[in-house]
């Protein structure tokens, strides 16, 4: 076995440039897989954490058809959700709190500047505040959060504070939202996604007034007992359907949301892994080609080895070891390159988009990629090795 590897190594070193070119395909393929899987794992991890924060005991209801994609309070069509729906939901048993939210764009004025951004209205009673804080991971960086008695005050996202206007917006400053003056009472910490960071949050009642609406974009239901979530969700659905005479709303439990997010992620990952697989096939064909060349060039050697007593199995294993070796070296370099790319992606992500993706390169991924690249090498080398093994010794010895 040690000899096999030694001989294989020597044979490869003999043709350094060719070996390297052969490796290129498999390096790229493995690198792509490693990078994509690790970035994907990182995303998955980030999503899971987001849901951990959200908690698994929530139900979210938004207007719009249940078949419309995604979860958005801005969906069109269907009857809006309003206080009547809140009443209906509150009557369903097993519920802790029901929190409505409004999200809409509005014009914001500060000094002479006018800018459009999102305004969110949230209930400011203590029990709601607690829930929303938990869910969104809102943290006040400066100033304070809402109190129940607040009316025309605003908590601004980090982006609004930092760079939405020419001048930084600070606590105690005045801004005009749809021509109504609000006092900034708090600035949030950077969250990482642009929508949250550029949102201005105000008390629900104030938002109804300035946005001129009584329709809610979301209703968030906090269920008392996590085990009851799907039961409560079914019941709410049933009641709302009865009242609306139609299913013109979208209802999702945190569990369902999580599953949706996870399945979207895994589809994306599968597509990329598919692309990587194609480059591996190309790499494999490259290995096959190189090995066929090697077999031809070493025809005479094969004849000699047979003459001095090598069995077909032995010849086969010599060439297979060589191609497995090519695969493995490609795998090692591919893993290195892929890790580099993956770190680069997470670095770039945190620098330019402020989305923190911690890429994860698990030992399973490393070992799997290594085994996989070896298998690609062996499969690609199988036919050339078989040809070598089956050579007629007399003809091989007389090969010029």
């Amino acid at each position: 076995m040690i000899e096999l590897v030694k001989v294989a190594f020597r044979n490869l070193m003999q043709q350094k440039v060719r070996s390297l070119l052969t490796l290129l395909g498999i390096i790229i393929g493995i690198a792509a897989i490693v990078a994509l899987v690790s970035v994907g794992d990182g995303l998955q991890y980030a999503v899971n954490q987001q849901f951990e924060m959200l908690g698994m005991d929530k139900i979210m209801i938004s207007p719009g058809s249940p078949k419309s994609p995604g979860f958005s309070g801005l969906a069109f069509g269907g009857r809006a959700l309003n206080d009547r729906d809140i009443k209906i939901i509150e009557k369903v048993g097993g519920i802790e709190t029901v929190a409505p939210m409004i999200v809409k764009s509005a014009t914001i004025k500060m000094g002479k500047e006018t800018i459009y951004t999102y305004v969110a209205g949230i209930p400011t009673e203590k029990k709601f505040m607690q829930m929303i804080e938990d869910m969104q991971g809102y943290k006040i960086k400066e100033g304070r959060n809402f109190m129940e008695s607040d009316k025309y005050v605003a908590v601004i996202g980090y982006g609004v504070h930092n760079d939405l206007f020419e001048k930084k917006v600070r606590v105690r400053e005045k801004i005009k939202i749809n021509n109504r003056t609000f006092r900034v009472i708090g600035i949030m910490e950077k969250i990482g996604n642009p929508i949250d960071d550029y949102t201005i949050t105000v008390p629900l009642e104030a938002s109804k007034e300035i946005l001129n609406t009584t329709d809610y974009s979301y209703i968030i239901v906090d269920v008392k007992d996590t085990e009851d979530v799907s039961k409560v969700a079914d019941k709410i659905k049933q009641e709302l359907k009865k009242d609306h005479n139609a299913e013109d709303f979208k209802l999702q439990t945190s569990e369902q949301l999580k599953d949706t997010a996870a399945s979207i992620l895994s589809i994306i990952q599968a597509i990329f892994v598919g692309i990587a697989a194609i480059s591996l096939v190309v790499g494999g064909i490259g290995i096959m080609n190189t090995m066929l060349m090697a077999v031809m060039e070493r025809t005479r050697e094969i004849g000699v080895m047979k003459a001095i007593g090598a069995t077909e199995k032995r010849i086969m294993s010599i060439f297979l070891t060589e191609s497995a070796f090519v695969g493995m070296i490609g795998g090692v370099l591919g893993i290195a390159l892929g890790s580099l790319v993956s770190f680069g992606v997470s670095h770039a992500a945190s620098m330019y988009t402020s989305v923190a993706i911690k890429t994860i390169i698990s030992p399973y991924l490393v070992v799997g990629a290594l085994l996989f690249s070896m298998v690609v090498g062996i499969i690609s080398g199988a036919y050339p090795a078989l040809r070598a093994a089956r050579m007629d010794p007399v003809e091989a010895l007389r090969w010029e």
């Binding site: 080895m305 003459a307 001095i308 007593g309 090598a310 069995t311 077909e312 007629d392 010794p393």
Partner: protein
């Protein structure tokens, strides 16, 4: 004298398109233990083909080959490889060493195929290279050696698994006379001191004369035995 390899009415026919080439035509011939045999004949007469068949590199088209009185007709490739590994040592005109391996590794190669343990492999290969006078050069590659030295490595390799028969196809064909003499010296000593059967294909009449059994071959037929 015990017969190791015996050919009975052997013919080897190559089909070249519609033309049949009778490389060997009804040849019967036997190699006993401690035989020294020379084979001579013009180019294309079938000398190498005869060695191929004696060395079990290929099967005859007609006739039979016996190894230790056992017919080889029904043997598969692996069984033939095993006999080559254990009983036969090949020496070629063009040396045919593996260029990427050192002298020592080249000599160890047949032992690797035979599954000899590491320690012993190295010891024996070193010893064999000393016998052929290459003790100080065991770690050199073939490209760093002269033709004569390469052929001596090849002899050491042929002896690796202690074969009963050594088949040498024009072993001095690519060597100058001095290097050739050295090689022949070693082969003759092997025959004399170790009682191994040695078959040498040669164009050199003076070498041929040293053999007790002399064979002349022409157009695939043995035309003279002596």
């Amino acid at each position: 004298m015990r017969s190791i390899i015996e050919l009975k009415n052997v013919s080897k026919i190559y089909q070249l398109g519609k033309v049949e080439v009778k490389a060997l035509n009804n040849v019967s011939f036997s190699i006993g233990s401690s035989d020294l045999i020379s084979i001579m004949g013009p180019s294309g007469s079938g000398k190498s083909t005869l060695l191929d068949i004696i060395g079990l590199l290929t099967k005859p088209t007609l006739g039979q080959v016996f190894v230790d009185h056992v017919p080889t007709t029904e043997m598969d490739n692996d069984q033939m490889a095993e006999i080559r590994r254990k009983k036969i040592g090949f020496i070629f005109q063009t040396f045919n060493l593996i260029p990427r391996l050192t002298a020592l590794e080249n000599v160890m190669l047949p032992m690797w195929f035979a599954g000899v343990p590491d320690e012993e492999k190295k010891k024996r290969a070193t010893h064999l290279l000393e016998i052929v006078g290459l003790g100080p050069r065991i770690n050199h590659r073939p490209t760093e050696m002269s033709g004569g030295e390469r052929q001596r490595v090849a002899i050491a390799r042929a002896l690796a698994n202690n074969p009963e028969v050594i088949l040498a196809d024009e072993p001095t064909g690519n060597l100058d006379s001095k290097a050739g003499e050295q090689v022949i010296d070693i082969l003759l000593k092997l025959h004399k001191n170790e009682k191994r059967a040695v078959v040498i294909v040669t164009h050199d009449p003076s070498l041929a004369r040293k053999a007790k059994k002399r064979i002349k071959i022409k157009d695939g037929k043995i035309v003279k035995r002596g």
